[in-house]
């Protein structure tokens, strides 16, 4: 099985996409870190092997998993049913949701305001936020960007878009790069969505093990500690 291969190889190969804080980022000193990255490192430690990160663009992420370059995929990815037809997702390890944010002094104060016809809404290409924005704001002008959440903030900050829609944890984490109070982040979520890791269907042993890993770390609190540090606060800011 795959687990035997990994043990023999002594190496766990993990595909990541560097999308930005808090899940996956490159720190000031060039080190790869973030919530998902640390969870993957923990996995490797529990397996007793060393970890190798394969850092891809969005374009390369899925092919890397499907072609077997990587054993598993660690990203803030929503396990949709359509995607589940191609890759095997673990049980969700956290729940998040898409939220709307605007520039602090903008005339769009609430999520309702953004439903006006012709509002320019920035979303991330391929992210679930893109889908949700289309349903939530049928009359708006949806613009999909590539290259990670921080660029959505940049677009909104520069006025290319009126509002942005992205994962709330991402928005919170990434807006810390701006002076406090630059953005208004709406409290209501457009949806509640799970995040999960992914692997291939021809690696059932690895999938079982990953699920086991997730329940173990949630029982012993290591998962919560990770999320508290990265997602639910900006404690990470001072270290990275």
């Amino acid at each position: 099985g795959t687990l035997d291969d990994i043990t023999k190889r002594g190496e766990l190969r993990v595909a990541v996409q560097t999308q930005g804080p808090p899940f996956s980022l490159v720190g000031a000193a060039g080190e790869r870190t973030g919530s998902s990255v640390e969870l993957a490192e923990l996995m490797a430690k529990e397996m007793g092997v060393k970890i190798t990160f394969l850092d891809f663009d969005w374009d390369g992420l899925i092919p890397a998993l499907l072609s077997g370059k990587a054993d598993l995929l660690v990203a803030d990815m929503t396990p949709t049913l359509a995607r589940g037809m191609k890759v095997a997702f673990t049980t969700p390890y956290m729940y998040t949701g898409s939220t709307v944010f605007t520039k602090a002094d903008s005339k769009f104060k609430t999520t309702e305001d953004c439903k006006a016809k012709g509002t320019k809404i920035a979303v991330l290409l391929g992210a679930t936020g893109e889908k949700e924005a289309k349903t939530a704001f049928p009359d708006a002008d949806i613009k999909s960007y590539k290259g990670g959440g921080p660029l959505l903030l940049d677009a909104v900050n520069n006025g290319q878009a009126d509002c942005g829609v992205n994962d709330i944890s991402a928005v919170k984490g990434q807006s810390t790069a701006y002076p406090a109070g630059s953005f208004t982040i709406m409290p209501d979520l457009l949806s509640k969505e799970p995040l999960a890791f992914a692997t291939r269907y021809d690696e059932p042993d690895l999938l079982v093990w990953m699920n086991l890993f997730l329940s173990q770390v949630s029982i012993d609190g290591r998962l919560q500690k990770n999320l508290d540090y990265w997602v639910n606060s900006d404690a990470w800011k001072k270290d990275h």
């Binding site: 969005w58 374009d59 899925i62 092919p63 499907l66 072609s67 949709t80 359509a82 995607r83 037809m85 191609k86 890759v87 920035a122 290409l125 391929g126 613009k143 999909s144 960007y145 590539k146 290259g147 940049d154 520069n158 006025g159 290319q160």
Partner: protein, 223 residues
Amino acid sequence: MLENFSFRTIVEYLPLFGQGLITTVWLSALSFVGALAVGIVLSAMHLQRGWLFRVPAKAYIDAVRATPLLAQLYFLYFGLPRLGFILPELVVGILALSLNSGAYVAEIIRAGILSIPRGHAEAGVASGMTYVQRMRLVILPQAFKVTIPPLLGQAIVLVKDSALLSLISVAELTRAGQLLASDRFMPAEGFITIAAFYLMLYYCLKGLAALSGRWLGLAGART
């Protein structure tokens, strides 16, 4: 990825690819017209004797050639709003492609003009034509013929470069493939379909080049 290659899904996404293709085509066409305009102006400036026009034209051409389109695109997309111009993505995209390709087109046109034997310009001078008459009646019609093949080569580059506009949320051909890859996790299907469409455009342009060469070859002369 290949053994499960799903033609059925490609067919399902074909309307999306079709829309992307149409966008790519008209976007590139408009940008190419823009590039021609930019190129003609730049090459005319570059061919002047005085430094006042020549030096800025040369500096622009070099700067564009030495930096990636991506950087230029961001420069326009994020830079213009700082100056107070907020333009729609499509406009910025077409502007970026025109300004970028224009630099290359300028070089092509300049080379074409310089390739016309000096004797022809002199014959024009000797029969009392003005600079503009010489250009219009003698030099440009001949230069046009020489520049057609490299211009179409540049058009091919432009069509492929237009894929970069997906970065600023323009829904063109590449974008359709990326959607297939991200919604359905079928990257092979997405990319190979894109490649097929681009290849089709490539052969169309190549055919056009051959055709125009033959057409112009008949009207002009074999030298």
